[in-house]
């Protein structure tokens, strides 16, 4: 029964939140509940979604990565520089850059046993500095290798090509988490870190992989950011780390590790985007919009509580407090 009331419910929160927000905005904001708007939201969600999926890997091994925004900015900028030098495909070099940053985080957390928040705080500062260094004080680097606007804004079968690419990456994340041995190891490490060594795993390597994936996804988000803006933006990304954490947690990822679902995280990111777009369309004051986003994050937490309570009622057992049935 705990199965149902705990694991299941947490992944339903984000879809339920999307539903609630859609009804609310649909009633109050003209033009919200239209196909066009749905597609527009679907075209915008991907940067946050990639960051949140990366963040999910760090959370799954009981970690945290507050450097994702800065890493995305640095890797996007370096990607653009590479593209300008070697041609458009070199934009993808952003991914190995993100991977490298993730490797540093992973080494610090996994091998040197830094607390995740300290390790990634240190890398945030250093990465921001590096981004300024490579651009000579933070100037945007226009992407001259080619026009990427079509990839970012024209829709093909409902999504922009970059959206399809991001979706493919998220599908890969799903494969990693659900179907690859590596994903199973993340869940094992998050579930019982001491036991991993006892069954023959190498905890620090697994932890390192999680941060590497997180970094690589930040690099992907950086690629997307650069392609959408047609420029490398070295100072971009402020506040994205907190948004990505919010999206991942709303998407049911357990902060205590061991539980995650990529699609739910995608839904969490979509929910954040729905709220932002809804507020944009509704024309409320930008200050109220900020208050509303805060309220909505807390509401999603309440929704989680409510759903769990409901499911445990339905399964007609008492709330468990101890360790036995």
């Amino acid at each position: 029964m705990r199965h149902l009331s705990d694991s299941g419910a947490r992944f339903l929160v984000a879809p339920a939140c999307i539903l609630a927000a859609s009804v609310l905005f649909g009633l109050t904001t003209p033009g919200f509940l239209t196909l066009d708007n749905g597609l527009s939201i679907a075209g915008q969600v991907w940067i946050l979604a990639l960051l949140a999926v990366g963040q999910m890997f760090a959370l799954t091994v009981r970690g945290f990565d507050i450097s994702v925004g800065a890493v995305a900015a640095l890797s996007g900028t370096l990607g653009v520089m590479a593209a300008n030098a070697f041609g458009l495909p070199a934009l993808l070099l952003a991914v190995p850059v993100g991977l490298a940053c993730g490797t540093v985080n992973g080494w610090l957390v996994g091998r040197a046993r830094f607390q995740p928040i300290v390790a990634t705080l240190g890398t945030v500062l250093a990465v921001k500095g590096l981004a300024l260094l490579v651009t000579g004080d933070g100037q945007a680097v226009p992407l001259e290798a080619g026009d990427t606007a079509g990839l970012a804004f024209d829709t093909v079968l409902g999504l922009p090509p970059l959206g399809w690419a991001a979706l493919a990456c998220i599908l890969i994340a799903h494969l990693v988490l659900r179907h690859l041995v590596l994903g199973r190891r993340f869940l094992m490490l998050g579930s019982n870190p001491e036991a991993v060594a006892l069954v023959g795993g190498s905890p620090w390597r697994i932890e390192m992989r999680a941060y590497q994936l997180c970094g690589a996804f930040a690099g992907l988000a950086g690629t997307l950011m650069a392609a959408r803006a047609g420029a490398g933006l070295p100072t971009e990304g402020a506040g994205m780390e907190l948004q990505s954490i919010a999206a991942a947690v709303i998407g049911g990822t357990a902060l205590a590790g061991g539980r995650a679902n990529v699609w739910a995280v995608l839904a969490g990111a979509a929910f954040v985007q729905v709220v932002l777009t809804g507020l944009n369309l509704s024309g409320v004051s930008p200050f109220f919009a900020q208050i509303a986003v805060g309220a909505v994050i807390i509401a999603s937490g309440l929704m989680d509580r409510g759903l769990r309570l409901l499911l445990s009622r339905l399964s007609r057992t008492f709330q468990q407090k101890g360790t036995f049935q």
Binding site: M1, R2, H3, S7, R178, H179, L180, V181, G183, R184, R185, L187, M188, G190, S191, N192, E194, A195, V196, A197, L198, V199, G200, G201, S202, A254, G258, R259, R316, T317, F318, Q319, K321, G322, T323, F324, Q325
Partner: protein, 501 residues
């Protein structure tokens, strides 16, 4: 014994953790087809030796020989490949993963390869292992939905997945009751009959006598009795070897009956379970509550202590309180020892003294201000009485051995101001003979002082030496009440539900 018989021999093993020396000069020789018992008090170094044998820890000195050839295991994976299969003291399972994944944990954690699906063991074989240890659970169920005992059996079943030459069991029975343990023993015996060697660690002499062929005793990280046939030494001699001293037997059980103190009426585990269970514990009385795993004995006991919600009415010394309201229950003087000290009991990073004084903070604080000296005066004598070892009340609780950690929980009970009743769940799980006798004495003394005591345990021996009266729980309700002098056989048949002899 012939040398060719020897499967795994460890000699001169030493291992230190910083300042603590876990092993100094340990020797252990396991023989094919035989079960070898390893004895030692809490903290003697048994688990450390096990971790070295299975490649989870590298020793500072010493050598290992596997089938006569020197062996060195850099990792658990290497040891497993060599056929050394561990079952660890603290569950090395993953609550968020399914039973099936847990059974495949070795394959998932070690080695290379991409697809998780390929590494999951064949479901029909997995079900076979589960059946062998007598478990009937859904392979897809998350492990977290299983009870502690069921989880322990999953860990045993998982060991069967490996090609086993040496089976290493570190206190596998701590969470099992007699019936479950017997199934485990059958598995071990069968493996040994096929030529495997087994190492078995337990603090219970009954089990050791029932299962083991040879015995090695460890004291302070040294081997003091080396691979003796089990019959050669008496229990007293073994105890003496373990502790360097004997254990005095506790005082006789008193027969006491006075006014009811702790009363619970109409307990029901499920909203739709009809009827209800009534329990009364009187002043000065030790009630023993027994039940097989999954019988609900622990849940019922926890409910009585206010630690578990559920239907029914509770009262202590005439004052009623809501089930599940642990705070009110503690305020009325009901002390509680939870069954799993690591998860529910201990404050690992806090000092031993603070682990105990938490129940007495109301008494120790004046206007929200704690007096350190008064805390010391109140708590330290309790710790001395319970023979806390090492006697350092300011050391972190997690640095103590299991037996001593358990003493902290007992001391916490005794420190509760206005103590009227104690509800103890598995009070000596995984605790060595010396600590166990100290804890039993403390329980008897409390009862003699007029406290109502309820002990719920799957350890029948413990009940037989403590209880004035037995309550047997089956299917989440009270199945039988037996008097103090009820024979063991009667208890056993009441537990399993067969007609009492």
């Amino acid at each position: 014994m012939s040398v060719s018989d020897e499967a795994l021999v460890a000699t001169g093993i030493a291992k230190s953790y910083g300042a603590t020396c876990a092993l100094r000069d340990a020797r252990l020789a396991l023989r094919r087809g035989r079960v070898h018992a390893l004895l030692g008090e809490n903290g003697a170094g048994k688990s450390t030796l096990v971790k070295i044998l299975v490649g989870a820890v590298t020793p500072d000195a010493g050598r290992l020989d596997l089938d006569g050839a020197p062996a060195a295991f850099g990792s658990v994976t290497q040891a497993i490949r060599a056929g050394i299969v561990p079952i660890h003291q603290h569950l090395s399972l993953f609550p968020e993963l399914s039973v099936h994944e847990n059974l495949s944990a070795f394959a998932l954690a070690g080695g290379s390869g991409l697809w998780a699906g390929r590494r999951l063991v064949d479901p029909s074989r997995a079900r076979g292992w589960l059946a062998e240890v007598g478990l009937d659970v859904d392979l897809a169920a998350p492990l977290g939905t299983l009870s502690l005992g069921e989880r322990q059996l999953v860990e045993v079943a998982r060991a069967l997945s490996l090609d086993c030459r040496v089976l290493v069991l570190d206190e596998p029975t701590a969470a099992l009751n007699a019936g479950e343990a017997e199934r485990l023993f059958a598995v071990v015996r069968r493996l040994c009959a096929n030529g495997a060697a087994a190492l078995f660690i337990s603090h219970r002499f009954d089990e050791i006598e029932a299962l083991a062929d040879d015995v090695t005793v460890l004291r302070d990280g040294r081997t003091v009795i080396d691979a003796a046939p089990i019959g050669r030494y008496s229990r007293e001699e073994l105890t003496h070897a373990m502790l360097g001293a004997g254990v005095e037997a506790g005082p006789e059980r008193l027969s006491a009956r006075a006014e009811p103190v702790l009363v619970g009426r109409g307990f029901a585990a499920h909203l739709d379970a009809g009827g209800g269970t009534n329990v009364t514990v009187h002043a000065g009385e030790i009630v023993g509550m027994a039940g097989l795993i999954g019988s609900g004995a622990l849940a019922l006991a926890a409910w009585l202590a206010g630690a578990q919600a559920g239907a029914g009415e509770l009262s202590v010394a005439g004052q009623g309180f809501t089930p599940g309201d642990r705070r009110r229950a503690a305020g009325f003087g009901i002390a509680y020892v939870p069954p799993d000290r690591h998860i529910e009991g201990l404050f690992g990073p806090l000092s031993a003294r603070r682990n105990v004084s938490i129940s007495a903070l109301g008494r120790l604080a004046r206007l929200g201000w704690l007096s350190a000296s008064e805390e010391m005066q109140r708590i330290d004598p309790l710790l001395r009485r319970l023979k806390l070892h090492p006697s350092r009340p300011e050391a972190e609780a997690r640095a103590f051995s299991g037996g001593n950690q358990q003493k902290l929980l007992i001391a916490r009970c005794l420190a509760l101001p206005g103590l009227k009743a104690m509800v103890l769940l598995e009070p000596t799980r995984g605790v060595d003979v010396a600590a166990r006798s100290v804890i039993h004495d403390a329980i008897r003394e409390a009862a003699a002082a007029g406290i109502a005591v309820l002990v719920a345990t799957s350890d029948l021996d413990e009940l037989m030496v403590l209880a004035h009266r037995y309550l047997v729980v089956r299917d989440h309700r009270l199945a039988a009440e037996l008097p103090q002098d009820a024979p063991r056989a009667a208890l056993l048949s009441a537990l399993s539900g067969s007609i009492a002899a």
